[in-house]
C-alpha cells in the first residue's frame, strides 16, 4: 500500500515538470543579462530628443495655459528631478557593453551623451554630482556634488576627445536612429554642441581655465579637424513615425487643443516682423476678421503674466489663437530636435557679435533664419530679411539674434530660450501682468529634488551652502550666471 501511494505522489510531480530541481528554475526567461551596445544607443537617442514640452513654451512666453495657475507661466515653480542620471546610467551601460563586445565606437558616442545629459542637468540646478555619480558599483551611494566649473571643464575635455576618437574610429554604428551610422555627422554634432556649451558659458568669458573664446576660435578655424553643421540636413533630428510609441509626443493631446493658447507678446512679435511662420505655429482665433489663414489680424494671444481670470475670459471670448492643429492631429508632425543647424548659426552670430570670432554676424543670422523657415516648411517672404525690424542694425543686435532664436525654437529645443534669457536678458519675458507670482521675478533655477534631502542630505547641504546664500531657492543665482 505504502509503495502504491508513493508512486501516486511521484506521478503528480512528474505530471508537472519532470521533477525539475529548484536550481534549474533560477533563470529569468523574460530578460537578458547582457545586450549589445546598439540597443542601448537607440534608447539613449530617443530619450535625448524627448525635449518637446509645453512647460518651456510657457516659461519662454510662447504659450499660455488657462486650465489653472501654471507654475511655469507665473514663475513660481519649485523642484526639478534627477531623471537625467537614469539616462546617464544607460550611457554608462552602453560603455560597459561596448567594452564587453569590443565595439569602441560606442565609447566615443558615450562621451558625447555623458556631456549632453550632465550639461542638461547642471543648467537646471547649478552644482550637481558628476565625478562620484554612477559609482554605486564602487560603493558610492551618496555622491558628492561637483562645482559647475569642474563639470564644464570635464565636459569640454570629453567632447574634444569624442570628436577625436570618432575621427580615428573605423567601427560601425548600429542602432542609430538619428544619423543611421554617419560618423561625420556625429562629429559635426559633437563640435556644434561644443560651441553651444561654450555659448552657454558666455558670462564666464573671463575665466582663465575655461578659455571660452580661445576654444571657440580653435573650433571654428579648423573645419577639417572640427567639422560642424553645414546645412539643415546635418542637424540632429529624430523623425517621428506613425506607430505606437513613435508618434509626435503631443499627438492626440487634449490639453494642447483646449487649454493652451499662443502667448500675446510672441504673437505680437511675429506680427510685427510679418513673420509667416506664425501661420505654421498657430491656429486662427475664433473671433476673426475673415477666413484668410495669412491674415495676421486673425491671430492673437494671451499675455503670459496676466491673471488667469483675464486670460480665461479672453480665451472664451475667442480672442486668442490655439496652437496649429498639426501639433495634436499629425502623428509625425515635425522631427524632434537634439541640436539644429539654425541654433548653431545663431550661436555663431552671437559669437561674431561678441567679437569672439571674426565672421559676419549678419551672414550667420540670416542663415539661421532661413534654415528655420526651411525646417518649418514655410516659404520665407522675399523681403523678410531686409525689413528694418528684422535686419541687424548694430544697436540691438544681440536682442534680435535672441529673438530669432526664440522664434525658431517654438515647440523644439527644450529650455534653450529660457536659458538664453537667463544668460543675456533676451528675449524679454513679460512679468508686468496682474497674475504674476514669485514677486515678479523670473526664476534662475530649480530646487534640488526632494529625494536628495532624504538620500544624500550631507552632500546636498554642502552644495547648497557653498553656492547660495539664501538656500536652495528658485531665485538663487548659480556660478554660470555670475560674471
Amino acid at each position: 500500500m505504502k509503495k502504491i501511494v508513493f508512486n501516486l505522489s511521484c506521478l503528480f510531480i512528474i505530471l508537472l515538470s519532470g521533477c525539475e530541481s529548484i536550481d534549474t528554475l533560477q533563470d529569468d526567461p523574460n530578460r537578458v543579462a547582457s545586450v549589445t551596445p546598439d540597443l542601448l544607443l537607440t534608447d539613449i537617442e530617443i530619450e535625448a530628443v524627448k525635449n518637446i514640452g509645453t512647460g518651456a513654451g510657457l516659461a519662454s512666453r510662447q504659450l499660455t495655459n488657462t486650465d489653472g495657475v501654471s507654475n511655469e507661466q507665473y514663475y513660481n515653480w519649485q523642484r526639478s528631478s534627477f531623471d537625467n542620471y537614469h539616462k546617464l546610467k544607460q550611457v554608462q551601460k552602453m560603455e560597459e557593453e561596448a567594452d564587453r563586445y569590443e565595439e569602441e565606437v560606442y565609447k566615443s558616442l558615450a562621451k558625447f551623451f555623458y556631456s549632453y545629459y550632465i550639461v542638461e542637468t547642471t543648467l537646471v540646478f547649478g552644482d550637481v554630482p558628476y565625478s562620484e555619480a554612477l559609482k554605486i558599483g564602487e560603493g558610492i551611494q551618496k555622491p558628492k556634488y561637483d562645482t559647475q566649473k569642474d563639470i564644464f571643464l570635464r565636459v569640454l575635455e570629453d567632447l574634444a576627445q569624442a570628436n577625436e576618437l570618432l575621427a580615428e574610429s573605423d567601427g560601425v554604428i548600429k542602432g542609430d536612429v538619428i544619423y543611421r551610422g554617419d560618423k561625420l555627422k556625429w562629429r559635426k554634432l559633437i563640435n556644434s554642441y561644443t560651441l553651444k556649451v561654450l555659448m552657454d558659458l558666455s558670462n564666464k568669458v573671463g575665466d582663465s581655465d575655461l578659455k571660452i573664446k580661445e576654444r571657440f576660435q580653435t573650433l571654428i578655424s579648423n573645419p577639417a579637424q572640427y567639422p560642424v553643421f553645414e546645412n539643415l540636413e546635418d542637424s540632429a533630428f529624430l523623425e517621428f513615425v506613425d506607430s505606437k510609441g513613435n508618434q509626435y509626443p503631443y499627438f492626440n493631446n487634449n490639453a494642447l487643443q483646449t487649454a493652451y493658447y499662443m502667448e500675446e507678446s510672441f504673437v505680437d512679435k511675429l506680427v510685427l516682423l510679418k513673420d509667416t511662420r506664425l501661420f505654421r505655429f498657430a491656429a486662427m482665433k475664433n473671433k476673426r476678421e475673415d477666413e484668410e489663414l495669412t491674415n495676421f489680424k486673425n491671430y492673437g494671444g494671451l499675455k503670459g503674466s496676466n491673471s488667469m481670470n483675464e486670460n480665461s475670459q479672453k480665451a472664451v471670448d475667442g480672442e486668442a489663437s490655439r496652437v496649429n492643429a498639426r501639433y495634436y492631429t499629425d502623428p509625425v508632425n515635425e522631427p524632434g530636435v537634439l541640436l539644429s543647424y539654425w541654433s548653431l548659426q545663431f550661436n555663431l552670430a552671437e559669437a561674431a557679435e561678441r567679437g569672439w570670432i571674426s565672421g559676419s554676424a549678419e551672414t550667420y543670422y540670416n542663415q539661421g533664419i532661413e534654415s528655420s523657415f526651411k525646417f518649418l516648411k514655410v516659404d520665407m517672404p522675399a523681403d523678410y530679411l531686409s525689413q528694418d525690424v528684422v535686419k541687424l542694425n548694430a544697436t540691438d543686435n544681440l536682442e534680435r539674434i535672441m529673438t530669432q532664436k526664440h522664434i525658431a525654437s517654438f515647440m523644439n529645443s527644450g529650455w534653450q530660450s529660457f536659458y538664453d534669457n537667463r544668460r543675456t536678458g533676451f528675449p524679454k519675458f513679460n512679468v508686468d501682468g496682474s497674475g504674476i507670482l514669485n514677486q515678479g521675478r523670473i526664476p534662475k533655477r530649480w530646487m534640488y529634488p526632494a529625494a536628495e534631502t532624504v538620500n544624500n542630505n550631507k552632500n546636498l547641504s554642502d552644495a547648497v551652502n557653498r553656492q547660495f546664500e539664501g538656500g536652495d531657492t528658485i531665485n538663487s543665482v548659480m556660478w554660470l550666471l555670475k560674471p
Binding site: E20, T66, A133, N252, M308, V454
Partner: protein, 1032 residues
C-alpha cells in the same frame, strides 16, 4: 459517473416516499437530572430544528431513519438516530472544558478550540447561505476580528483583504491558492471558513503562510439518506446607498460662457470644464423664454449653416439615476448529498449571475464540483474534491479615475444641460462606427457608447482539485499524502472602438487579446502519529515532505489601430506590426515540515512545528531556510476553582518565526537584467532598470508572538476572547532608496525593521434565551499598527518621510505654506505651495469592528451584521475633482455668479506676506523667518481659483476621515414546519427576505469609504431580495 447520476435519481424518487411523524422528548443534564432549557435540536441534513422548552421538552417532526442532533453550549453534542420510536429521553453530558468546539487549523487538521495556542476564528458556511455578496470572501466582512476587508463597489473587482495588516494566504481544502482567486469558490459549496490569524497558526504552510490564512473547507457528502438541496438567492440593486451629489445650477463651459462649436472642447466650449453659465436663466428675448446657446444637439440652420441655439436648461438632473439600471445578483445551487459508513459524496452545481448596474455589463460565475470520501476499511481513508469553475463576461466596466470611468463621463464632467437619455444614439450621424456622439469628443466618452461599444471580455476557466489519503499501517501510525492542483486559463479581450477616449488619447480603434495559463501543484507525503501515551498524555504528530511547482505564462497581442472600424481581429491591424509581448514564470519550493502536539489531562497543551523551505526565488546559497513555532495553552478553569459565574477560562501563548523567499510578485526579482525598450521605426532598444540588486539577498523573516485568553461566563451566556500580538519583521527585502545621482532609484537589500502589533477582541453573548426567543450576538473589534523600528544604511527617514519609531502609515503630502499659526499664506490671492511635504494624517484605522446578531423567534429568524471602521484618513479623488471641475454643490454661490460676469470677488481666508522672507534648511526645517503678514485681501476670480486649488485650503487637501458604520447584511427567515412539509416533497424549506448595504453613516461625503480608497468608484447600491432554501 453516468451510472452514479442514475442511481442518485432513483434514490431521490425513493426518498420522497417517507412520512413525517411527530416525535417528542425531554432533555436532561446527565449528572444532575435537571431539565435543560434551550437545547438546539436539528435534523441533520436540513435546516429545520427546534429548541427545548422550560421543562426540557421538545417536539419535532421527523421521518424514520433521520438523525437528530442535540447541541448545547457546555455540553457534548449528541446525535440520535431515529428508529420507529416517537418518544425520547435524552441525557446530555457536560463537557469538562465547557467547550468541545472543533476548528480547522493548518493542513486541515481539526483541533479542539481549547487546545489552540493561537487565535483562530471560524464561520459556518450557513452564514453565507442567504445574503450573497459578489464573492464568498466579501461575506466575511465584519465577522472576524483582525480581518479587514475593504470592499469595492465596482463590478468584479477584488476587495482588499488584510489580516493583521498583511495579505493572508487563501487555502481551499488544505491546498494553498496562490492565484488568490476569491471568485472561484461558490459560497453554497462552503462548509466552513476558518481564519488562522497569525504566523504561528499558519507556519506549517511555510513562507506563503507568513501572514495568516483564510482556510476554506468545502462541503463533502454526509452520512445519511440522499438529500437534494436547492438554494436560491436573488437580490436586486434598486437604489443608491451612496453616490456623489452634484450641483444642477450651472452647466458646461468656462467662465460662465458656453457655446458648442464642434465638440473638440476649445474656445467657447470651455475646455471641458463645468464652470459654464447658469442654467434655466430667463431671457424674454428668445423663443423659449430661456437663455439659448448652441449645443451638441443643435440643428444646423440650412440658411446660415450655423448651429441653432437651444435653451440652456437643467435637463439632466437625474442623469445618474437614468443611466444606471437595476442590478441583479442571483445565486443558484443544486447539490446532491449521500453517504453511508463506507462512502459519501456530494455533487454540486452553482451559478452566480450578476447583472451590473452599468448597461450591457454582467458577470457569470458557474461551478461544478464533486467531492467525496471513502473509508473501505477502518485503516484507510481517502477523500477527494474537484471543481470546475468558469467566470465569464462579454463586458465588465473599466474602473479607476479617467475617461474610461462611467461616473467620470456621467457626473463629474457633464453639466446637467446634457440629458443623458439624449445620448442613447451614440454615433455621430453619418460617421457611424467612426465617431461617437457626445457634447465633448476630445476629453470624454458618451457613457452609452462606452457601455455598448467598448467591450472588455473576460473568460476564465478554473480547474482545481485535491486528494487526501491516510492509511494506518500500524497502531496509531499512518502514512498520509495530500496533493492538489490549480489550473486556470484566462482569455481577455479588449474591443476599443474608433474615437474612444483615453487620457490624452483618441483611439483609432484597437483590439487586444490576452491569454494567460497557470498551473501549480502541491504534493505532500509523510507519516502521521496519533497515540495515547498514557491515560492522560496524548501525542499526535507528523513529518512530511512537500513539493510545490508553478508555471505561468501570458501572451498579449494588440493592434496598432484598426483598418476597418468595428472589426475586432488582429488581422485588421492598421499599424506596421502587431504589438505583442509575452512572459513566462516558473517557481518551485521543496520543503520538509513536521509538528508535534501534546496534550495532558485535557488541560495542558503544547504544539511545536518546524519547516524548512528551499525556494527558487532567492539566489542560490541563500534560498534554503528553516523556521519553527511553538504554541501552548492551559485551561485554568481545570486547575483553579473558579467562581460559579465563570464556566471556563483558558490562557494561551505562542511564538513563531517565518521567512519569505519571494520578492514581490515576480519570481525573478533577485535576478538583474535589461528591460526591453521601445522599438523605434523598426529599431529595437533596451534599457537598464532603476533598481540595483544586492548580490547577497537573504529571505525576509518575521518573528511573531501572541498571547490570549478565552473566558466564558454566566452559564455560557457570555464569552470573551482576547488576543494581543506583536510581530517583528527583519531582514526585510526593501527597495532602499539611494541618491538618484547613482543612476538608480533604489537598491534591493535586506534592511529596515518593522514592528506590527495589534489587539483583537471577540465577544459573544446571548442576552435572551428562552423557549420562544433567542438572541445571539457577537462583537469583533481589532486594532493594528505598524511601526518602523530601525532604518538601515544611516538614513534618517524613508522615501515616504517616515522616521524611526513612527507609524509607517503616516501620509505626507505637498501642502501650502502657513504663517506658523495655521493660516495659509497667499500671494496674489493664490495659496503658496510649501516645497517640502508635510504630515496630513494616518491611513490605518484606529479600530475595525463588526457586530453580528441572530434573533430566533419560533419559526422566524432575523440575522444582521453591522460593521465599520473608526479612524484613518483617505484621499478622495471624487470630492477633489468635484470642486475642481465645478460640480460640487458647494460651488453654487455668489462668487461664482460674480466670476461668470468677469468679476474677481473671492478672497480666500488666510494671510499675505507684506515683507520679509522664509528660508529652509535642506530638511525642510525653517531656519529663518522674518515674514510680516496681513490678512489676504486680494480678490480673485472664483472659477479660476477653484480650477487651480480644488478648494484644497478649505477641504484639508481632500483628505477625509474614513470612519463609517454599515448595515452589511440582513436576513429574515421563516422555516416551514415539518407538519406542513409532510404533504410536500420537501424535507426542509425556508424562505428569507434578504438585504445588503441597506444603511450607512460616514464622515466622508459623496463616496463610500468601505474600499479605503477613492478612485471614483461606482456608486454603492442597496440590495434587497429573497432566498429560498429547500431540501428534498
Amino acid at each position: 459517473m453516468k451510472n452514479t447520476i442514475v442511481f442518485v435519481l432513483v434514490l431521490l424518487c425513493y426518498g420522497l416516499g417517507f412520512a413525517q411523524i411527530k416525535r417528542t422528548g425531554v432533555v436532561k443534564d446527565a449528572a444532575t437530572g435537571e431539565p435543560l432549557i434551550g437545547v438546539t435540536i436539528t435534523l441533520t441534513g436540513t435546516t429545520y430544528g427546534t429548541m427545548t422548552d422550560i421543562d426540557g421538552g421538545f417536539v419535532i417532526e421527523a421521518e424514520d431513519g433521520q438523525i437528530l442532533e442535540l447541541s448545547y453550549i457546555g455540553y457534548t453534542t449528541q446525535q440520535l438516530k431515529i428508529g420507529t420510536q416517537t418518544n425520547f429521553a435524552v441525557n446530555m453530558l457536560e463537557t469538562s472544558s465547557g467547550l468541545d468546539e472543533v476548528v480547522i487549523t493548518a493542513l486541515g487538521i481539526k483541533k479542539e478550540k481549547q487546545a489552540l495556542g493561537y487565535a483562530v476564528q471560524d464561520l459556518s458556511g450557513k452564514a453565507l447561505e442567504k445574503v450573497k455578496e459578489s464573492n464568498a470572501v466579501s461575506s466575511l466582512t465584519g465577522k472576524v476580528a483582525g480581518l479587514n476587508i475593504k470592499n469595492s463597489s465596482d463590478l468584479f473587482q477584488n476587495p482588499e483583504i488584510s489580516l493583521r495588516g498583511a495579505s493572508p494566504l487563501i487555502v481551499i481544502d488544505g491546498i494553498p491558492d496562490r492565484t488568490a482567486d476569491i471568485w472561484r469558490v461558490n459560497s453554497d459549496d462552503i462548509e466552513n471558513i476558518s481564519v488562522l490569524k497569525g504566523a504561528t497558526a499558519s507556519a506549517l504552510y511555510g513562507s506563503v503562510g507568513r501572514s495568516g490564512a483564510i482556510m476554506i473547507t468545502t462541503k463533502k457528502g454526509k452520512e445519511g439518506k440522499l438529500t437534494v438541496s436547492f438554494n436560491n438567492s436573488t437580490m436586486f440593486q434598486t437604489s443608491f446607498l451612496r453616490k456623489p451629489e452634484r450641483q444642477t445650477v450651472y452647466g458646461n463651459g468656462n467662465q460662465g460662457v458656453y457655446a458648442y462649436i464642434d465638440g473638440t472642447g476649445g474656445g467657447t466650449e470651455g475646455g471641458g470644464w463645468i464652470w459654464g453659465p447658469r442654467l434655466d436663466q430667463k431671457d424674454p428675448s428668445t423663443a423659449s423664454g430661456y437663455f439659448e446657446t448652441p449645443q451638441y444637439n443643435s440643428e444646423i440652420d440650412p440658411a446660415t449653416g450655423k448651429l441653432i441655439p437651444l435653451p440652456f436648461i437643467s435637463r439632466g438632473k437625474n442623469n445618474v439615476e437614468n443611466f444606471f439600471r437595476t442590478g441583479v445578483i442571483q445565486a443558484n445551487n443544486v447539490a446532491v448529498d449521500w453517504g453511508n459508513d463506507k462512502a459519501s459524496y456530494r455533487v454540486s452545481i452553482s451559478n452566480q449571475y450578476q447583472k451590473g448596474i452599468v448597461p450591457n455589463t454582467d458577470l457569470n460565475n458557474t461551478s461544478f464540483s464533486i467531492g467525496g470520501q471513502l473509508t473501505p476499511t477502518d485503516k484507510l481513508r481517502i477523500s477527494a474534491n474537484y471543481t470546475y469553475n468558469k467566470q465569464f463576461t462579454d463586458n465588465f466596466p473599466e474602473v479607476g479615475y479617467g475617461p474610461t470611468n462611467y461616473l467620470y463621463n456621467l457626473l463629474l464632467w457633464t453639466g446637467t444641460d446634457v440629458d443623458i437619455r439624449d445620448l442613447k444614439n451614440y454615433w455621430m450621424p453619418g460617421k457611424e462606427g467612426v465617431q461617437q456622439r457626445h457634447y465633448n469628443i476630445s476629453y470624454y466618452n458618451n457613457p452609452y457608447f462606452q457601455a455598448f461599444e467598448y467591450m472588455r471580455g473576460y473568460d476564465k476557466n478554473n480547474s482545481f482539485g485535491n486528494y487526501n489519503l491516510e492509511y494506518e499501517f500500524y497502531d496509531g501510525i499512518s502514512f498520509k499524502s495530500t496533493g492538489g492542483i490549480n489550473y486556470y486559463g484566462l482569455n481577455r479581450t479588449y474591443k476599443e472602438p474608433k474615437s474612444y477616449i483615453g487620457y490624452g488619447d483618441k483611439s483609432r480603434g484597437n483590439y487586444t487579446v490576452m491569454n494567460e495559463n497557470f498551473f501549480d501543484i502541491t504534493t505532500d507525503f509523510g507519516i502521521k502519529v496519533n497515540k495515547e501515551l498514557t491515560d492522560l498524555l496524548q501525542l499526535s504528530g507528523e513529518v512530511a515532505y512537500s513539493r510545490y511547482r508553478r508555471n505561468w505564462n501570458k501572451l498579449t497581442s494588440a493592434t496598432d489601430g484598426l483598418n476597418i472600424p468595428g472589426f475586432y481581429n488582429l488581422d485588421n491591424n492598421a499599424g506596421p506590426s502587431i504589438i505583442s509581448s509575452n512572459r513566462e514564470e516558473k517557481e518551485g519550493i521543496n520543503s520538509f515540515y513536521g509538528f508535534v502536539d501534546l496534550s495532558y489531562d485535557s488541560t495542558y497543551y503544547l504544539s511545536l512545528t518546524a519547516r524548512n523551505d528551499k525556494v527558487s526565488t532567492l539566489p542560490k546559497g541563500n534560498n534554503s531556510f528553516f523556521y519553527p513555532s511553538i504554541a501552548s495553552s492551559v485551561v485554568i478553569s481545570n486547575l483553579v476553582r473558579m467562581p460559579q459565574w465563570i464556566d471556563f477560562a483558558k490562557v494561551r501563548g505562542s511564538w513563531a518565526r517565518v521567512s519569505e523567499g519571494r520578492i514581490g510578485e515576480n519570481p525573478y526579482s533577485h535576478i538583474q537584467g535589461y528591460e526591453k525598450g521601445i522599438t523605434w521605426d523598426g529599431v529595437p532598444s533596451a534599457y537598464f532598470g532603476n533598481s540595483l540588486l544586492s548580490s547577497d539577498l537573504k529571505p525576509e523573516t518575521s518573528d511573531t508572538w501572541e498571547v490570549g485568553a478565552y473566558v466564558r461566563f454566566f452559564k455560557n451566556r457570555l464569552g470573551i476572547d482576547l488576543t494581543y500580538y506583536q510581530t517583528n519583521d527583519f531582514n526585510n527585502l526593501i527597495y532602499m532608496p539611494v541618491s538618484s545621482a547613482t543612476g538608480y532609484e533604489n537598491t534591493l537589500v535586506n534592511g529596515d525593521r518593522f514592528k506590527r502589533k495589534g489587539f483583537e477582541l471577540v465577544l459573544d453573548f446571548t442576552p435572551v434565551r428562552n423557549e420562544v426567543w433567542e438572541w445571539v450576538s457577537t462583537v469583533n473589534m481589532s486594532k493594528y499598527n505598524k511601526y518602523l523600528t530601525e532604518l538601515s544604511n544611516d538614513r534618517t527617514q524613508t522615501d515616504k518621510y517616515i522616521k524611526e519609531g513612527e507609524r509607517t502609515d503616516g501620509i505626507y503630502i505637498s501642502q501650502y505654506q502657513t504663517d506658523g499659526q495655521g493660516n495659509i499664506v497667499f500671494e496674489n490671492g493664490y495659496p503658496v505651495v510649501d516645497p517640502y511635504s508635510r504630515f496630513i494624517g494616518y491611513e490605518d484605522p484606529d479600530w475595525t469592528f463588526g457586530w453580528t446578531n441572530t434573533i430566533n423567534y419560533k419559526d422566524f429568524s432575523l440575522s444582521f451584521t453591522l460593521d465599520g471602521r473608526i479612524g484613518g484618513v483617505m484621499f478622495s479623488q471624487t470630492n477633489q475633482k468635484m470642486w475642481w471641475g465645478g460640480v460640487d454643490p458647494g460651488t453654487v454661490n455668489q462668487y461664482r455668479d460674480d466670476a461668470n460676469e468677469g468679476k474677481a470677488t473671492y478672497i480666500a481666508s488666510g494671510v499675505k506676506v507684506v515683507s520679509g522672507e522664509l528660508r529652509y534648511d535642506s530638511n525642510g526645517n525653517i531656519v529663518f523667518d522674518n515674514r510680516v503678514f496681513a490678512p489676504n485681501d486680494v480678490p480673485v476670480n472664483y472659477n479660476s481659483y477653484m480650477q487651480t486649488t480644488s478648494n484644497n485650503s478649505e477641504k484639508n487637501y481632500h483628505y477625509y476621515k474614513q470612519d463609517f458604520i454599515k448595515l452589511r447584511d440582513i436576513a429574515l427567515t421563516y422555516q416551514l414546519k415539518p407538519s406542513v412539509l409532510s404533504r410536500t416533497p420537501f424535507s426542509s424549506l425556508s424562505v428569507s427576505l434578504i438585504g445588503s448595504n441597506l444603511w450607512m453613516a460616514s464622515k466622508i461625503k459623496n463616496v463610500d469609504p468601505d474600499s479605503g480608497k477613492d478612485a471614483l468608484q461606482t456608486p454603492t447600491m442597496k440590495s434587497i431580495g429573497f432566498n429560498i432554501n429547500a431540501k428534498f
